[in-house]
Symmetry: C2
């Protein structure tokens, strides 16, 4: 068994892999592979509908919020969100909490004004700024709810009277939030929801169509809503894996229950990082992410040795991002508590060997 | 066994389904699913590199032409191509040969001038206009090499001194062409190359960067070239299925050999349509597509009955597009000659029952 702590694309539930593999050979006993199903067939229309419905259900969305499964990756929405929401003289407010937030800021500048209301860049994004004001006339405040690279996560979503737009790529469906309080959420699927190649957009339809810009057909969220997320050929298989994972999540008891396990996993690993004489966390404690746990060694010269030790013990994907160094263990929904316990046991074993 | 003549997503080689299913369970004996592979792992980087290399090899591309595997579908490139190639005062020339061409025209108008140099709309796109002139100053001529809905295909690519851009979604790699004569080719993968959710772009890098517009990061082909088609998380699994299909095509002898079989398949089916007293083709003979064979019945009231007959005999996906009616049999690369022979035998059986 391999323990995959990769930051994304990343682990999915084993039963999703099994069902997806079976469908690639023979979908639902049809004699056809899911890969050769036309997207206008009743079979795929049912998959798309179930996936959208499960998102609504798991997020407790009201009727104003629509769910889309789109091409392009979250990076496309860095551009697409301001294209849909900002006129050239409008301002959007941004929290600069990492590389991905910074990319969203850069793209917004093409379509309007981007005002950075806070930044933790001066401390390599190791904390989340709490003390900032959002201009009243900002069309929206953009936040990255979880910063995959640095291992920070807003434990409380900033309170503002402005509309909120969130890049939720790395913690969507991992914890209970009032999702209806967001006017737009976008998230690459490849961490908590499914295979790489599809991006989920949750949008309050009332905020669309308020600007003067003419938006290209494929970029206008309204067109995708009107066509039931089937404006062009969707990424059929990627949507199918999302539907399977959402079914699995519902069976686990939904977001409420998975959050309990996510809390246990994060607490267990952070407790070990804080206890173990060899390791230390990189993030201000109150902002620690429950999805991406970043840590280094007190003696950096031992890091290569621990990485090798862990790799020999079948741990994969814990090398930290180059801009932070050290280690990063990603504990997405599909990561079992037992795998985290195993990683902790290896940290303890390594400590005993090295003391 | 089911015979899938669907227009796309569509049939792929059986060995692709088998290898893809195995990889979803356990990629290359790694103990990991291909779906949980990080895109920055050596394993996936090798897949992406092999897929790009196989495209270059199978298309005999020169060093000026780059291959990209991108998000978004061909519909996104209706917008992305003019965004990259046209300044607002520039003109692009278009052949209006169907719904998809018309969509490309509409998107181009947002970024420059779109001049329609010929159209077969008045005859419901049942032929391809041959007699037209392209303005010398047009930045490029856009053609749709094969019109999936209507069943037309340029048997000879129009000769022009202008740069040529082609939507090759439904006949890429199905026949030998001088692909280097095109400055830009785009094609949704889900017909001849792989699973839905990835689009192939082949671009002469020398035509990029010639305009004044600032292009959003994800829309600029130059950025994708610079990052080796990994500017953001690619659709990992969809790219993998492309690589498998390209390997299969190479094993068949490449484009040259598959073209021979494609010719045989199309000739066999058109011969039956022309011979059989119940059926007739919908397209001017010289423009008939070898990928999508469209036909109707002389007595339209019998069409429902033939569809039911064929469905009972395990034929799938031959109902014609609503704008043409009747039937459409898609004969993409992966469709075996024997399956076409089977369809022909059913047409003969139906004729004998109904005479």
């Amino acid at each position: 068994m391999v323990y995959n702590f990769n930051a994304g694309p990343s682990i999915l539930p084993k039963e999703v892999f099994e069902a997806a593999a079976a469908a690639v050979l023979n979908y639902n006993n049809s004699g056809l592979s899911i890969l050769e199903y036309g997207h206008r067939t009743p079979a795929f229309e049912a998959i798309m509908q179930e996936a959208r419905q499960l998102m609504k259900e798991l997020m407790n969305l009201d009727n104003d919020h629509e769910v889309l499964f789109l091409h392009g990756g979250a990076s496309t929405h860095f551009m697409q969100v301001p294209m849909n929401l900002l006129d050239i003289k409008d301002t959007a407010a941004f929290t600069d909490t990492g590389v991905w937030a910074a990319k969203a800021i850069n793209e917004a500048k093409l379509f309007g004004k981007a005002e950075i209301v806070c930044s933790s860049k001066e401390k390599n994004y190791t904390y989340l700024p709490k003390d900032f004001a959002v201009p009243n006339d900002a069309k929206y405040l953009h936040i990255t709810t979880n910063n995959t690279i640095y291992g920070t996560q807003w434990q409380k979503i900033p309170i503002t009277s402005n509309s909120i737009v969130a890049d939720m790529s790395s913690d969507i469906l991992s914890r209970e939030l009032n999702f209806n309080a967001f006017d737009l959420i976008y998230a690459g699927a490849q961490k908590n929801i499914g295979a790489a190649g599809v991006t989920i957009v949750v949008v309050n339809k009332n905020i669309l169509g308020k600007i003067k810009r003419y938006i290209p057909t494929m970029m206008d969220y309204r067109n995708h809503i009107a066509d039931g997320s089937m404006l062009n050929t969707p990424p059929v298989f990627a949507v199918y894996t999302c539907m399977l994972t959402l079914r699995w999540l519902k069976k686990q008891g939904g977001v409420k229950e998975i959050e309990k396990i996510n809390n246990q996993k994060a607490e267990m690993l952070y407790a070990e990082i804080d206890r173990n004489s060899l390791f230390k966390g990189t993030v201000q404690k109150e902002d620690r992410s429950k999805m991406n746990v970043t840590f280094v060694m007190n003696d950096p010269t031992k890091e290569a040795s621990f990485l090798q030790f862990a790799t020999q013990k079948n741990i994969m994907g814990i090398k930290g991002h180059r801009s932070v160094g050290g280690f990063r263990a990603s504990l997405y929904n599909a990561m079992p508590l037992s795998s985290v316990a195993y990683l902790v046991s290896l940290m303890q074993e390594f400590e005993s060997i090295n003391n």
